[in-house]
């Protein structure tokens, strides 16, 4: 390649007129069994990527993304749960040394040390040795941190009844939502007797299932209100028979409209 005087350019541009052939280098002569990235190695990578993609798409097909009911800030029965990769932080805050008066440990000092240590690892672990047994302190700390994160995540996740959660928080289609007449007499009875557990839109809560999308007769509803069913204790309803009538009528009407 020419340098300085004698360089030729394409037109009045600064592009060299000298064309370099685009032939990949041959790495077969290099020490070790090296391989050209393009196209040899990349092909293998993309084959692995294809296998990965098939697995990934199978996952998305087998498990549709979950969606719970529309956010209801007044839903007092809802127990919050972060996405799984934040569970360990959430669980950490349950411990006495990380909550209450020591909340700073839980939210700043412990995560700060862990993530700060991770960020500055090259400057904390400065020795020349790269093998794990040559740097026992940093490797030990990483193993400790890893074990704690896995343990905390497991602790948090094992305490959750996932199926019940998913069942209790199933989304209600928009078409089935708007049909609750909150001015009706039946709703007033509902408000006084059932709302604290079954929610103001009959959507259910942590302790009780939704009252929408059910298939029960007036008589059955009256019976359940009086005598309970499943985990619902008897005598939840306290009122006159006339009110009970109105309540049952109201709940049946809500379910009929759908």
């Amino acid at each position: 390649m020419h340098k300085g005087k004698g360089m030729k350019f394409v037109g009045d541009s600064r592009i060299s007129a000298e064309q370099k052939p685009n032939i990949p280098k041959d790495y077969s002569e290099y020490p070790g069994r090296t391989e050209a990235f393009w196209p040899n190695f990349l092909l293998k990578e993309w084959l692995a990527g294809s296998v990965f993609l098939v697995g990934f798409l199978t996952l998305t097909l087998a498990h549709p993304a979950p969606l719970e009911g529309m956010a209801d800030p007044t839903n007092s029965g809802y127990i919050p749960l972060p996405d799984w990769y934040f569970l360990f932080l959430y669980e950490l805050l349950k411990y006495n040394f990380a909550s209450g008066p020591y909340i700073l440990f839980g939210i700043i000092i412990i995560p700060g040390l862990a993530f700060g240590g991770l960020l500055l690892a090259p400057f904390l672990d400065k020795g020349p040795g790269r093998r794990p047994h040559q740097r026992p302190v940093s490797v030990g700390m990483m193993l400790l941190a890893l074990t704690s994160v896995i343990w905390l995540t497991y602790q948090s996740a094992s305490g959750v009844n996932w199926e019940q959660r998913a069942e209790a928080n199933k989304p209600v289609p928009p078409s089935e939502q708007a049909d609750i007449d909150k001015d009706s007499e039946g709703y007033k009875v509902f408000e006084n007797n059932c709302m604290s557990c079954h929610g103001e839109d009959l959507q259910g809560g942590a302790a009780a299932p939704p009252l929408t999308g059910i298939d029960r007769s007036k008589k059955e509803i009256k019976d359940i209100a009086k005598n309970g069913i499943g985990s619902m204790p008897p005598d939840q309803f306290s009122g006159s028979d006339k009110e009970l009538d109105k309540l049952a009528e109201f709940i049946v009407s809500v379910n009929e409209d759908q």
Partner: protein, 224 residues
Amino acid sequence: MLQKIYDWIDERADITPIWRDIADHEVPEHVNPAHHFSAFVYCFGGLTFFVVVIQILSGMFLTMYYVPDIENAWRSVYYLQTEVAHGQIVRGMHHWGASVVIVMLLLHTLRVFFQGAYKKPRELNWIVGVLLFFSILGLGFTGYLLPWDNKAYFATEVGLNIAEDVPIIGEDIKTLLAGDEEIVGAQTLARFFAIHVFFLPAVLFALLGVHFILIRRQGISGPL
């Protein structure tokens, strides 16, 4: 024909050296699973990037249906998931991709850590990598709210309350993120949408660029 087009562009733009920089380099034996099967651990970085690409693509298409408004956000997600052909798959890709990217990122980080590959001269790239980790966690946190379902709402409420417990600046951080001192509502959703779709991806792209340039400059770390 293709060769002619290439030559025509190359004559005017001199792209061969750029191409050489990007694609023409040797892959050493110790990272090649064809020679040592255990070298599959070197795949995690590439797979992380692959899932990030999936996230970008599926996310771009999701915004064709999604609206960041508390009246309609949940409805739009419900609609795209139940009514739109393949909507469930696209949302599934974005939802599961968010989890898979964290898994891959974790494995990649552990590979680099246990091999001590962050030692001199690669300190800077490790820091960029950890910052990438943080921005992806931030993307996960802000993206979680967007469907505006109960899970999203209450998890965000908890997250913001944790931020509020930070001394001195905690309340301001919460207000800055939520857009209101007390309410997690319309302004919060708009803010999280902006952060999730514009601010953090911009940070992510910049950091990814630096990450890759440094890898090409320094080459992959040698065998142990």
